[in-house]
Symmetry: C2
Subunit: 145 residues, 2 copies
DNA sequence: ATACATGCAAAACATTTGCATAAGA
DNA sequence: TCTTATGCAAATGTTTTGCATGTAT
């Protein structure tokens, strides 16, 4: 895995290249997303940004998240019964394991996805571009209760 | 696969058992869901129900769909950027292949899911109860354009 | 007869959008 | 300076809810 600080620099360079402006709000949102492995929601990012920039608006979070999604720098995770969550660490499709009790999300190691994808392409004629694989269950912590 | 008429009877019996009432609206909604393999949206079910029962309300569709979901008789599919769709044919988790151009959904044959599930349970300690696997791509028809 | 379902309208909720103002470049 | 981003409020779209009325049992 790439160092977060290095990745931050690269993204900033990419933003500059495409003449997007580097604002304090964008920097704050970016840093939070790059450093969170708990797949935060927009609301959660908002909460964290407001600590340092209390006047920031929710709309700005939404707009920035949208921009970063377009640039391929974050991945959007749509849950079955919850608000959207975002992953700035691994902005490419990968499986998630979601606790239905406490909403905790982890990234399990999973093989087979490539095989499944080409299997599907062969049998359906579809050109598969991405996928979304979510497992729902009870995490070890919640099983104890 | 089970005959639709037989399954309809079974579901009606189940509803009666749990003292839910058999109304014309519920019958209509049930029949539509059991006979659709194109994963209709609530709006689409609404459109079809209104042909025979023009005074039916959207709220009733939502309430009935919710009930059938609770009873485990239909599966809810949440798309990445669209409205919810429902599958009354196969009301258990299974993969979907979704065209990002025309929103067509088909059910590809896929192996490995059981292996993946137990692999994940072993490595994470989670008790996996269900999953959601969606592949996104371009269907053969849309590739031609 | 009596509880439950329906249909309407309003509410709820996350997300998006328009626009005047602020601020990077 | 000039264009883009921000922040506010209003709009949007889907889904849910409350309640009076209708209806299955």
């Amino acid at each position: 895995m790439e160092d977060t600080a290095v990745r931050l620099e690269k993204i900033i360079a990419k933003l500059r290249e495409q003449s997007f402006r580097i604002t304090p709000q964008r920097m704050a949102i970016l840093k939070i997303l790059l450093n969170s492995s708990d797949h935060p929601s927009v609301e959660e990012v908002y909460r964290q940004v407001k600590v340092d920039f209390p006047t920031t608006s929710l709309a700005t979070i939404y707009k920035t998240v949208h921009l970063l999604k377009e640039l391929g720098e974050i991945l959007e995770i749509r849950l079955a019964a919850d608000r959207n969550r975002y992953d700035g660490k691994r902005p490419y499709p990968h499986p998630h394991l979601i606790c239905t009790e406490c909403s905790n999300i982890i990234d399990p190691e999973v093989g087979f996805i490539e095989q499944i994808t080409s299997e599907i392409e062969d049998s359906s004629g579809y050109q598969v571009l991405s996928h979304q694989l979510e497992f729902f269950g009870i995490c070890p912590n919640c099983q104890k209760r």
